[in-house]
């Protein structure tokens, strides 16, 4: 079985396409559309990578990132933040996530970054 990737993205279209290409690349993808469901996911700590959107209907992805990084069980799992927000640089300064990707993204860029973080564990 391939590596496990947990995806938190409220937009169905984006969630679908990401799931589609990652599955196509033999990754095991768990998709969530809101923070509540994501936080309730029992196998959170057994993931290899988190892909988190920033703007979510029930909260801010950056805070989710903080929670994950402050949790012993999850803090070593790399996180990639995704945002349509233009202020990515600013975001980078205040967030402990390993990587950031701006929407709209090139799927090849996304795949490259995902592959990088899965093959170079931190």
């Amino acid at each position: 079985m391939g590596k496990k990737i947990c995806l938190l993205e409220d937009d169905e279209g984006i969630r679908e396409i990401i799931e589609m290409i990652l599955t196509d690349e033999q990754y095991e993808v768990y998709g969530f559309s809101n923070i509540k469901d994501f936080m309730a996911f029992k196998d959170k700590g057994k993931q290899d990578l988190y892909l988190l959107d920033v703007r979510l209907p029930d909260g801010n992805g950056l805070l989710v990132c903080d929670d994950l990084k402050n949790d012993e069980a999850t803090k070593k799992i790399p996180i990639m933040m995704m945002s349509a927000h233009a202020g990515l640089n600013e975001m980078k300064r205040n967030c402990k996530a390993e990587d950031f990707i701006a929407k709209p993204f090139d799927i090849f860029d996304l795949l490259k970054k995902v592959d990088y973080h899965l093959t170079n564990p931190h």
């Binding site: 937009d11 279209g13 984006i14 679908e16 396409i17 990401i18 589609m20 290409i21 196509d24 703007r55 349509a84 927000h85 233009a86 202020g87 640089n89 600013e90 980078k92 929407k103 709209p104 993204f105 090139d106 799927i107 090849f108």
Partner: protein, 594 residues
């Protein structure tokens, strides 16, 4: 006084008598024909050798006429027998003198002359004084009867008349003389007066001339005064007009200030006192009658803006420039936030006025809030647009992969074009988002050390991959390390190249270069396009500015690209500008400090 007569010869009224004699002005005067004639007549009438007309003065007896007595003209009063004769109003007669007791020692009688007879009639004045005698003398004794006495007395009266006549003629002559003298004197005086008059006249003439000169001067002065008066009236009218206009303009100004809701202030050049208008005080939360010191106003600028605003204001005053700033202030009591647009400048000294600082403060809170709402809207819309764009791009790319796997070249080609369009749309949305950020004054600049040569290389790779319509030539770039935001600077280069492509003909050449100039890295993008009018060149970097021309009508754009480039480069402390010639081409430059 000698007295030969042995008795008193001085009458009681002698003083008055002598005075009366003197009145006739006859004493001690030369002989006169008429008196000599009367005396002569007496000697003939009475047949005597001597006749005298004597005048008895205080001391002497004067003989006015003397016939037969030698050259004698006077005789002492005490000797002359006439002194006795004036004592008696009647004729005094001595018929045989040597027998007269009073004449015994008289020299005339006892002496060699041998006088024997004497008869004397007094000369009596109209007022009764006996001033002298007409007398006859003989050396023999004689009888003198009453008739003779009467004749002598009458003759004495004739003498007296003559004396009176003489006096009156003398008086006449004297009067004439006096008159003449007076006339002469008057004449002289008149002459003198005349001369004086002539002199005066000359003086008067001179004065007159002077006066007429003065007069004409006064007239001229008067005329001048009149014209000055007229001019003054005209000036006054103009001043009144100007005043009215000033009042009107002051009114309009105040209306404008009120309408514009402007707060104004100035700093007095002398006292350096900060004087804010009532409206300005309101902006800062003060009452109209409260004092608002400059320091207090400055301290109310919101903390994150304060230092920068103060620095810019000080800089403007120091360099004699004006400033135009927007910043939030916190109201004094309510602590409510208010956005203001503040301008200020140094007004240089003019005639009669020192230099002073002045400025305006405009409340732009509402405008700022609207802007914020607009920005929030843009942000929201952009974000919302990006979301479907992301999945759309993803789907297209997945399809593209499938097409490649299935060797479906046609589909792959179409899909790759579709993907380019989504990229374009994405860039456009980024532009809107960035513009919003530039508006709020915070395009984030993430400074990192990198080599400009690398950045230019990346731009070259990207443009070669995406642009086939133009011949883009990248000049070789030396290693040029800069501290800047690589992504943002790259965005500027891409923007300039895309613009060059957009505004120059198909197949034309675009030159890109990066060189070191005066401690800066200077990037240039040169095209062979339509060029920009000099009047439009400065405005190119304004937000939403688009050159208004027929050629531009077919080229789309929002007028935000160069505005953002300008914001980014200025955010680095750099400079962006254009050199262009209409119909020949443009070269866009930007420089970053090394």
């Amino acid at each position: 006084m000698e007295n030969t007569f042995g008795k008193n010869i001085i009458p009681d009224n002698d003083v008055e008598r002598v005075e009366a004699l003197k009145r006739y002005k006859i004493i001690n005067t030369p002989p006169e024909h008429c008196f000599d004639h009367i005396a002569g007549l007496a000697t003939q009438i009475f047949n005597v050798p001597v006749s005298l007309i004597s005048l008895v003065d205080a001391e002497q007896v004067y003989f006015k006429a003397n016939v037969g007595m030698g050259k004698a003209t006077t005789s002492p009063r005490g000797v002359s027998i006439c002194s006795l004769a004036v004592l008696d109003p009647e004729v005094t007669v001595f018929e045989n003198a040597p027998h007269e007791p009073c004449l015994l020692t008289n020299p005339n009688v006892a002496g060699s002359f041998g006088l024997k007879f004497y008869a004397g009639a007094p000369l009596t004045t109209a007022d009764g004084f006996r001033i002298g005698t007409l007398c006859i003398i003989d050396k023999i004794p004689r009888k003198f009867d009453a008739n003779s006495r009467a004749i002598l007395k009458s003759m004495a009266k004739i003498v007296m008349d003559e004396i009176e006549l003489r006096l009156s003629s003398i008086s006449e002559v004297e009067l004439q003389h006096q008159l003449m003298e007076e006339t002469t004197a008057s004449n002289e005086e008149l002459l003198a007066s005349n001369e004086e008059l002539i002199r005066s006249q000359i003086e008067v003439g001179k004065l007159n001339a002077e006066l007429s000169e003065t007069n004409s001067e006064i007239r001229a002065a008067n005329e001048e005064l009149l014209s000055v008066n007229h001019a003054l009236k005209v000036t006054q009218n103009s001043l009144l007009l100007v005043n009215a206009k000033l009042a009107e303009s002051e009114n309009l100004k105040n209306m404008a200030i009120e309408q514009a809701d402007l707060g104004i202030w100035y700093i007095d050049a002398d006292t350096r006192a900060f004087i804010p208008s009532p409206r300005l005080k309101q902006f800062f939360g003060y009452h109209e009658d409260e004092t608002m010191p400059y320091e207090a106003a400055v301290s109310q600028i919101r903390e994150d803006y304060s230092a920068k605003v103060v620095e810019k204001i000080n800089e403007a005053f120091l360099n004699n420039e004006s400033y135009d700033l927007e910043y939030p202030i916190i109201e004094f009591r309510s602590k409510r936030q208010r956005w203001v647009k503040s301008t200020g400048k140094l007004n240089p000294a003019e005639k009669g006025r020192k230099s002073y600082f002045s400025g305006t403060v405009l409340d732009i809170t509402e405008q700022k809030e609207n802007e914020q709402r607009k920005n929030d809207f843009i942000s929201m819309v952009s974000h919302e647009l990006k979301t479907p764009l992301t999945s759309m791009g993803g789907y297209i790319q997945v399809l593209q992969m499938r097409a490649d796997k299935n060797k479906d070249g046609m589909s792959g080609n179409i899909l790759s074009r579709a993907y380019i369009q989504t990229k374009k749309m994405s860039t456009m949305i980024d532009g809107f988002l960035n513009m919003k950020r530039a508006d709020t004054g915070k395009i984030p600049i993430d400074l990192k050390l990198f080599d400009m040569a690398d950045l230019i290389k990346e731009a070259e790779v990207e443009s070669l991959a995406t642009i086939s319509s133009h011949n883009i030539i990248f000049a070789p770039v030396e290693t040029t390390p800069v501290v800047a935001d690589k992504d943002k600077v790259g965005q500027v280069i891409t923007n300039l190249i895309n613009n060059a492509v957009k505004y120059s003909p198909l197949g034309s050449t675009i030159n890109v270069a990066c060189i070191r100039v005066n401690e800066t890295a200077q990037v240039s993008v040169k095209d062979e396009g339509m060029g920009v009018l000099p009047t439009d060149q400065d405005k190119l970097f304004d937000r939403f500015f688009r050159v208004d021309s027929k050629q531009m009508a077919n080229i789309s754009g929002f007028g935000i690209g160069l505005y953002l480039c300008d914001e980014i480069i200025r955010g680095h402390g750099g400079k962006i500008w254009v050199e262009s010639e209409l119909g020949v081409g443009s070269t866009f430059y930007f420089s970053l400090p090394l």
